[in-house]
């Protein structure tokens, strides 16, 4: 199977939009909930990295 443009960019684009929102919400929002939303939005990409590392295809011998 080959992935097309939209399939390849669906998640990266969503994460980029989320990050842009996170960067701006703390700057333009008046503290409080906007800060919390910013922390969540910017933490999601870091969690994605952690999850991708957790789910990495490990060598056969170390698989349980």
């Amino acid at each position: 199977m080959r992935f097309g443009f939209s399939q390849i960019w669906r998640w990266p684009a969503a994460l980029a939009v989320l990050m842009a929102f996170g960067l701006l919400s703390a700057l333009l929002g008046q503290g409080g909930v906007w800060w919390v939303l910013s922390w969540i939005a910017l933490a999601v990409p870091l969690l994605v990295i952690a999850a991708a590392w957790q789910k990495r295809r490990r060598p056969v011998e170390s698989r349980s």
Binding site: R2, P12, L27, W39, L42, A43, P45, A51
Partner: protein, 398 residues
């Protein structure tokens, strides 16, 4: 994307990255403590604590603090006074003369006062004799690598290459992912393939942040030329009517406290944080220049200069900042990450760390390459994407 377009983008990605990587690694490492600069500074602060006074204690008269400073150093000039907005302090900066200060800003020294009691808390030595602080060292490495303005422009160019590497990275990302689910890390084959997947995954996941911090970093490196441009155009035009006048001497100068009150009345919704004295290259020869800023999270990053005639004490103007300096002001928090409390700083630090991984893995992928440069781009693809490489060539033929 055609095969030749892929090769071109790959070439841009490879060379823009290779040229800037070493510098970007230094910038990322030194940037890490700078994110927590305020906290580190407080931790290392050895100054005696402020007198505990009721919260509504009014500030001492600025004229008294200025007179006291002049008494302590009768042969020196006052460069500026800084009124902090999160600590009750006033810092008076002095120098032997304007000529000496213009030749080398480090001849200046400062006196820190309690803003309410006007008692001296601490004095610095001339900055030429002060030993560099840890944070000062980090900032110099981060901003100009001890090379002043040329260093700033050079690192600005490296930042531009970093942005180019991100954009070209976006362009070459697609062909690598034709047969791969998003965020797949193939750690089961070769270390090279594992690091390629990590490089692509972390790079694409953090690209919005990296683009913003990279681009705002470039803007910050251009701050000196932008201020010079402003002074040589808008400020010059504003001072034109005063041509031929001399800079007022101390007895000729009107009250600083009065200037502060006059300026405050002109910008009632702003907070005045500093006064630049007449004669400074960062102000006017004939005016007190007072920097006022807003009180909201965003407007507190936007400064407006207020000019008060230093002889008559009359309000001269509330100056409108040009668009490029506004852009610089907005770009600062987006680069520093200091606008959303401690959690945002921690996120900033983690994103900085994973950027180091992207830079390091990119360097590793280049160092561990095994083929001639011409075939490199294709090899990268074939290795990552065996079946799809065929599709790329088929697409090129279409």
């Amino acid at each position: 994307m055609t095969r030749s377009a892929f090769r071109k983008w790959f070439w841009v990605h490879k060379w823009s990255s290779l040229v800037c990587t070493a510098f970007l690694l230094v910038i990322c490492v030194t940037g890490l403590p700078l994110i927590f600069g305020e906290e580190i500074e407080h931790l290392l602060d050895t100054d005696p604590p402020y007198a505990s006074l009721p919260a509504d204690t009014p500030n001492a008269n600025l004229d008294g603090i200025v007179a006291k400073s002049r008494q302590m150093y009768p042969n020196e000039i006052i460069v500026s006074t800084f009124m902090d907005d999160d600590e009750p302090k006033v810092v008076v900066t002095m120098a032997p003369s304007w000529e000496a200060f213009k030749a080398n800003r480090k001849v200046a020294h400062w006196i820190k006062y309690d803003a309410r009691t006007a008692q001296v808390i601490r004095q610095s030595k001339p900055l030429t004799e002060e030993s560099p602080t840890f944070l000062g060292l980090m900032l110099t490495l981060h901003r100009d690598m001890f090379a002043g303005l040329p260093g700033e422009l050079f690192l600005g160019a490296m930042g531009f290459l970093f942005v180019a590497a991100i954009v070209s990275g976006i362009a070459v990302y697609g062909p690598f992912m034709r047969k791969l689910d998003f965020a797949t890390v193939r750690a089961d084959r070769s270390p090279r393939l594992k690091w390629l997947d990590l490089h692509n995954m972390i790079g694409v996941v953090t690209l919005a942040w990296a683009l913003v911090v990279g681009a705002t970093g470039v803007i910050n490196e251009l701050s000196k030329p932008m201020f010079m441009l402003w002074q040589n155009t808008d400020v010059k035009a504003m001072l034109e009517p005063f041509k031929g006048q001399t800079t007022p001497t101390v007895p000729e100068m009107s009250s600083v406290q009065q200037a502060l009150e006059t300026a405050q009345a002109a910008v009632p919704n702003m907070r005045i944080t500093s006064v630049v004295f007449p004669g400074s290259q960062f102000g006017s020869p004939f005016h007190y220049l007072l920097w006022a800023k807003g009180k909201e999270p965003l407007t507190s990053r936007l400064f407006s200069p207020v000019m008060v005639d230093a002889r008559t004490g009359k309000l001269q103007a509330v100056v409108e900042m040009p668009w490029y300096l506004r852009a610089l002001e907005v770009s600062r928090p987006l680069h520093f990450g200091d606008y959303g409390g401690m959690p945002l700083k921690i996120i900033w630090a983690l994103l900085d760390l994973v950027t180091i991984l992207v830079l390091g893995s990119g360097l590793y992928l280049w160092l561990s390459r095994r083929t001639s440069p011409a075939a490199e781009a294709d090899t990268e693809l074939v290795e990552s994407n065996a079946g799809a490489a065929l599709a790329v060539s088929r697409e090129a033929a279409e």
